[in-house]
């Protein structure tokens, strides 16, 4: 390798060509390459400018840890703050984070796109025209706080305790807002859970009150997923890492999904079961485990309430464990492999092969269901209950390589102040007829209001986009447009979205590097916390600058909820409401708490953290600011088996007192007395009694199919990735996945249009021929199809421009005027968009289908497919909200008909309820106690 040629040197000397430096012919690496800079160098990390290379231009960075905000996992990120410009230039992983271990999915590094989005909302806005008109005026934070505080105060002063509510999509924090709502004295917490996981949660909680699994994939022998955790979902990155570790160590992967997800593509067994039949499959495997004698006798004997079942349903039998096993085998004998194969429509050989793998997994069976079949089908909660049954039978509950309750690995912060529980029960969130609903009946809020069951004075939507993400979005538009239904709507969001278009106030809240949160998630065995912090605020602090409020350092006036809630709560209270006392500093007598003090206190309570911090000469908050994460417990296995000292506490097992499970019996409840008491005796024990709304028996017509809408793309999250250009260029449309056999029958070909009719409307989408989906099922991802109307702003990278027409009498029509168009901005990339197709908003045509038992919205839709008629174009949508209301009434009726309240209880007293009100409110007709 030589230097420059003579000709070049002469040319440069004669100024015929400019002088450029010599290229480097070898590297300066001084040994094996390393992954992360030493934390001691984070304050002053030097990197060479990537684009100036091969010129060596040094850039100095301060690396400040935070966590990603693009799904629930809160993976660690390091923000690279350029010391010259004072802004964040990129995000990499945080090696200290025990969940993500320095690695991220695509959404992590794409955070910089969201920070730099040229269409971000930078200032608080208030509508200046009618709701939904798209006319906005900029206001100050002071105005926003005063006006909103006034409205809340007015509502509270009427004595009402359920007319101010907060509806959250992505919480991203542990316990912060629940405490605020309690301080206000309202039963006002609503969430997105019942369109997400409440089906699975009920199934799990029936067993042990814990409503979420934490599989130990890395150590498993068999990994059984009805999720797609190598592709998406949360906890996507942390789980994918460990699923792959397990597989590389020899674990067998079984994936159950009618669609070949990326996860199924890597599986040893892909079982494309007919949606909703999974319970039959699992119960068949349960029977195989029993038949083969592969059950964990000790665990069943010690830790399952088999005696309660015998006493209740087999009182005339010997009340022995041996008899229990015999009766168990009888009970599940109907679930033969042949039955399962027929119900699931898969080969019986596959049922048997996968079943044998599961049976032989012993204590190392890690299983997961979260959304998928549990949220897709009527009775989907049976799927989770049957799946956990397999863990119970194999004795893999909380074992190494098994499946633990997620609560064992999740840290619940001790906060500086705990106001009393709300003195009300909000029946718009927990209507009486949904006695076992796990989480709020959020998806029927518009329908309950339309049904005259209540209205709201103040309604916050927070990182939450129901108009678009939820089924029957036009009903949401109707509700949000009506000032009688919703007095004041405040959207707290990092970006524009379809719901914010219908708000009264749009308040920009910070993204991953622009806010404070404490995170703790059960990504593996082991308990950790992580700290999401406004990195520029921390950087300013390092430089010795004082920052009072986060909006001083964020772009524009973007703020964060933690400080917003403190200020708002302070202003709500005119001195008579007793709210301010819950926002007092724990360190300075009589002063309002600051966000730094909030976290200072919170971190000081974390076991082991103050000690670890002291070892580095820091306090607890200082440690978290520096490292971004802390491992509290290395592993969290078998907590039920820990001894408990107190004679009154825990449960007796084999003569000793153990922690047990937080159920009435202290054990795994195979037999659920609550199911019986609340009017569902047929569900006393796990069974396959409820058929899905898309069971083949319910698809009678030749042109009737099952639509599978609830799958995601690996690089997107529901609403807030629309402005991440690097994610959008990888995925922006959602054609209909259809098996060629079905396409042939319908007479459509690749790229042609298909009309999909649901119970309440229809949409027109493009055909995607694929062998990756079960015939009879068609798939369309509900991650795509974003839109804005001509008067709306934001997200030009991913939104189609649509026209929405309210034709009256509940009839709505949406037409796509244009696809995605390039546009001019400060970012040259926005004029280089090579894509046009923004997909179709299918969710809005879905009828709400609230499961009467779990309350979960059943996502799968029975649809009729045909070719569109003349004048029905790509992206056209029609919905009849009167039809959707009647449909809701039909499903709601199923709950009303079976409504039973033993002892006047609204719901089982032992069952979880977010923001649980005071005890007497748990009883009907005792609210005025």
């Amino acid at each position: 390798m030589g230097k420059k040629s003579i000709i070049e040197r002469i040319g440069e000397a004669l100024h015929l060509i400019p002088r450029i430096p010599e290229r480097p012919w070898s590297s300066g690496a001084t040994g094996p390459l390393r992954a992360y800079p030493d934390p001691d160098d984070w304050h002053d990390h030097v990197e060479l400018d990537a684009n100036a290379w091969p010129k060596q231009v040094e850039r100095r960075y301060s690396l400040v840890p935070t966590t990603c905000f693009n799904c629930e996992s809160a993976c660690g990120l390091l923000a690279y703050i350029d010391k010259e410009t004072g802004v964040v230039s990129k995000f990499e992983g945080n090696p200290h984070h025990p969940g993500s271990r320095g690695r991220n999915c695509a959404k992590g590094p794409a955070t910089i796109n969201q920070i730099n989005d040229t269409e971000r909302i930078l200032h608080p806005l208030r509508r200046s025209g009618a709701r939904g008109s798209g006319e906005w005026e900029r206001i100050t934070w002071d105005e926003a706080l005063d006006e909103i505080a006034g409205k809340i105060r007015d509502s509270l002063k009427t004595g009402a305790r359920d007319r101010v509510t907060y509806h959250v999509g992505r919480p991203g924090n542990e316990g912060y807002v629940e405490r605020v709502l309690k301080a206000w004295g309202v039963d006002g917490h609503n969430s997105h859970t019942n369109i997400c996981s409440s089906g699975a949660r009920l199934g799990y909680s029936m067993w042990h009150k814990f409503d979420r699994p934490s599989p130990d994939h890395a150590n498993a022998k068999v990994i059984l997923l009805t999720s797609s955790h190598l592709e998406t979902g949360h906890y996507f990155n942390p789980h994918a890492q460990r699923i792959m570790e397990g597989m590389m160590d020899g674990a067998e992967l079984i994936v159950i999904d009618p669609r070949l997800s990326n996860t199924a593509a890597l599986a040893d067994h892909w079982l494309p079961t007919w949606p909703g039949s999974e319970t039959a499959l699992f119960l068949c495997w349960a029977h195989m485990i029993l038949e083969q004698g592969k059950y964990d006798r000790d665990f069943l004997h010690d830790w399952v309430n088999w005696d309660a079942w015998l006493a209740a349903e087999h009182a005339d039998e010997p009340q022995t464990f041996e008899r229990f096993i015999e009766l168990l085998m009888d009970e599940y004998s109907e679930y033969t492999p042949e039955f399962a194969a027929a119900e699931c429509q898969i080969p019986v050989e596959q049922v048997i092969a996968a079943g044998n793998a599961v049976a032989n997994a012993g204590s190392r069976l890690s299983t997961h269901v979260w959304r998928a079949a549990a949220i897709g089908n009527l009775g989907g909660w049976q799927v989770a209950r049957a799946l956990h049954f397999l863990n119970v039978l194999t004795g893999s509950v909380g074992t190494v390589g098994g499946t633990a309750p997620n609560a064992w690995a999740k840290y619940t912060p001790t906060l500086f102040n705990e106001p009393p529980a709300p003195d009300a029960w909000n029946e718009l969130h927990f209507p009486p007829e949904y006695t076992l609903s796990h989480y709020e009946m959020s998806q029927i809020l518009p329908h309950l209001i339309k049904d005259g069951r209540g209205t709201l004075d103040v309604y916050f939507t927070r990182v939450f986009n129901p108009v678009w993400t939820y089924p029957d979005g036009f009903s949401w538009i109707e509700m949000l447009s009506n000032k009688e239904s919703i007095g004041c709507h405040i959207a707290l969001t990092p970006t524009w979205n379809e719901t914010a278009f219908f708000a009264d106030y749009v308040l920009p809240m910070g993204h991953a590097s622009e806010r404070h949160d404490i995170n703790s998630y059960a990504t593996q065995s082991g308990k950790w916390i992580a700290f999401r912090q406004p990195v520029l605020r921390e950087y300013a602090r390092q430089q010795g600058e004082q920052v009072q409020f986060t909006y001083e350092v964020n772009p524009g006036e973007v703020w964060e909820e933690d400080e917003f809630w403190i200020e708002l709560s302070w202003r709500i209270d005119d001195g008579t409401l007793g709210i301010r006392e819950h926002f007092m500093s724990p360190y300075r007598e009589g002063e309002k708490i600051t966000v730094d003090e909030y976290y200072q206190f919170t971190f000081e309570q974390v076991p082991g953290l103050p000690e670890a911090a002291a070892a580095e000469g820091l306090d607890a908050l200082g440690y978290m600011r520096k490292h971004g994460a802390f491992l509290i417990e290395e592993s969290t296995y078998g907590k039920h088996d820990e001894e408990v000292a107190d004679e009154e506490a825990g449960v007796e097992v084999n003569g000793g007192r153990k922690v047990g499970f937080p159920t009435p019996s202290g054990k795994q409840e195979f037999y659920s007395p609550s199911m019986v008491e609340f009017g569902y005796p047929e569900h006393a024990i796990p069974h396959y009694r409820v058929k899905s709304q898309v069971h083949p028996d319910n698809l009678t017509g030749d042109d009737e199919y099952c639509l599978l809408p609830n799958f995601r793309l690996p690089q997107h999250i529901h609403s807030r990735s629309a402005n991440a250009k690097w994610l959008v260029e990888i995925g922006h449309r959602n054609p209909i996945w259809i098996n060629p056999l079905d396409a042939a029958r319908l007479g459509v070909d690749e790229g042609e249009l298909l009309k999909i009719e649901t119970e309440i409307g229809w949409f027109v989408d493009k055909v995607w021929l694929t062998e990756s989906i079960k015939p009879g099922v068609v798939g369309c991802s509900h991650h795509m199809g974003r839109w804005r109307r001509k008067q709306d702003a934001g997200n030009h990278l991913l939104t189609n421009t649509v026209d929405i027409e309210n034709r009256g009498d509940g009839k709505w029509r949406m037409r796509t005027l244009s696809g995605i168009e390039p546009f001019e901005s400060e970012d040259p990339d926005t004029s280089r968009l090579f894509w046009r197709d923004g997909g179709v908003h299918q969710n809005v045509t879905h009828a709400v289908q609230p499961d009467p038992i779990s309350g979960a919205h059943c996502w799968l839709q029975k649809v009729r497919l045909c070719k569109p008629a003349e004048g029905e174009n790509y992206g056209d949508i029609e919905v009849d909200t009167n039809k959707s209301f009647r449909y809701y009434k039909k499903w709601n009726d199923w709950a009303l008909k079976r409504e039973v309240h033993p002892r006047g209880e609204r719901r089982p007293l032992w069952m979880n309820r977010p923001l649980a009100p005071r005890e007497h409110h748990w009883y009907l007709n005792r609210d005025e106690a």
Binding site: S27, R34, L48, P822
Partner: protein
Amino acid sequence: MTNYGFVIDNRKCIGCHACTVACKSEHDVPIGVNRTYVKYIETGTYPNSGREFSVQRCNHCEDAPCVSICPTTALFTRDDGIVDFDSDRCIGCKSCMQACPYDALYIDPNTSTAAKCNYCAHRVENSYEPACVIVCPTEAIISGDLDDPESNIAMIISEHTVTVRKPDSGAKPNVFYIETSPEMLDPLAAPPQSTGVWTDQEGGVGHFASQAQALLHAHGYGDRMKDVDEENARRVYDTPDKGVLWGWEVSTYIWTKAIAAGTYLAAMLYWLAFGGDISGILLPVLGISLGFLALTGFLLVYDLDRPERFLYVLLRPNWESWLVKGAYILGAYSAVLIASLTVVWFDLGENWLAWLAYAGIPLALLTGVYTAWLLNQAVAREAWRSKWLAPQFAAETLLAGVCVLVLLSEEMLVWVIVAAVALAVLAAHQRRTIREPQLVPLS
């Protein structure tokens, strides 16, 4: 001596695109172009359907064709095996994109210069891993020194069967794949489509980013998208197509160059070898040759994405590249033409012309033919590697020259028409020669 390479372990790749985005972030890569990306194919019939993912990027070849063809050594192979690039030297000729068998390069629309994965050389400089290696959730990308038997990467290669993309390219790629199917590695097994499972492409990228608003059909993109062959594998996700990179400018300059070279060549041969009389058309012959040579030069510079840097071809030369050799040949040939014109203008005598022709005739032939050797160097395009390309160009040069002579001297209309038609057919044929091979998918 360090020899950096990659292993892509496709037992572990989950197709999540984290590497794609981490790289975008590290280098601020514009929309539409990629230094690394993940290709998806689907195979089989339900229920035996399958999907595979594979990461593709520059292979840091030991015998990199892009380095050989780059006229200005903007692309260069380092001692440590990294094939790096210096965008200050790049003139945007796009020869590298014709030479890379793996379609690893792109034109950055911000700078109009070529770019590709450079192994994060700026990070390696400080002993850090490339950005894609660190982000991968399943650690499916392994980097390191291939020549160090104790290194992780070397041990992985020795313990597993590995394959490479297009082993017969001659480039000796240093990105090794574990458990990657032939259907994935062979670009023709699952040809590109115009839509993917989540994507569509309706505008240009990279070199054609300015055409983001317009369809790419004008640049030959539309023809490239073959119909899905459902019997074989199907490509379901891919990065956008870059289109035809050497378009009308290149095929036209080959035509004008054929005329520039052929006219003088045919005339001189007719006079010196066959004793023909060209005295009446000498000035037009020289004028047309020089004029079309100037036009050729203009088109050559016009085709560059950084035309103001055209002098780099002469003054920052990579002698291995036929772009450089050709530029000097054009220079020498134009000198001969200018000298010959001077002789004729000032009536210095035909002996001088004959002496000049001793240099001029071979130079004219080389002028007409050298592009074939340049195309031979563009090893990505199978059709251009043919040994018949040079004789073809020689014949075309002569044919062009003869046609021009006919047009200049012939009086019978039918021959004039034949010559004009032949020139038009020649132009169409040259357009096809340049365009068609660029429609064959490389990745």
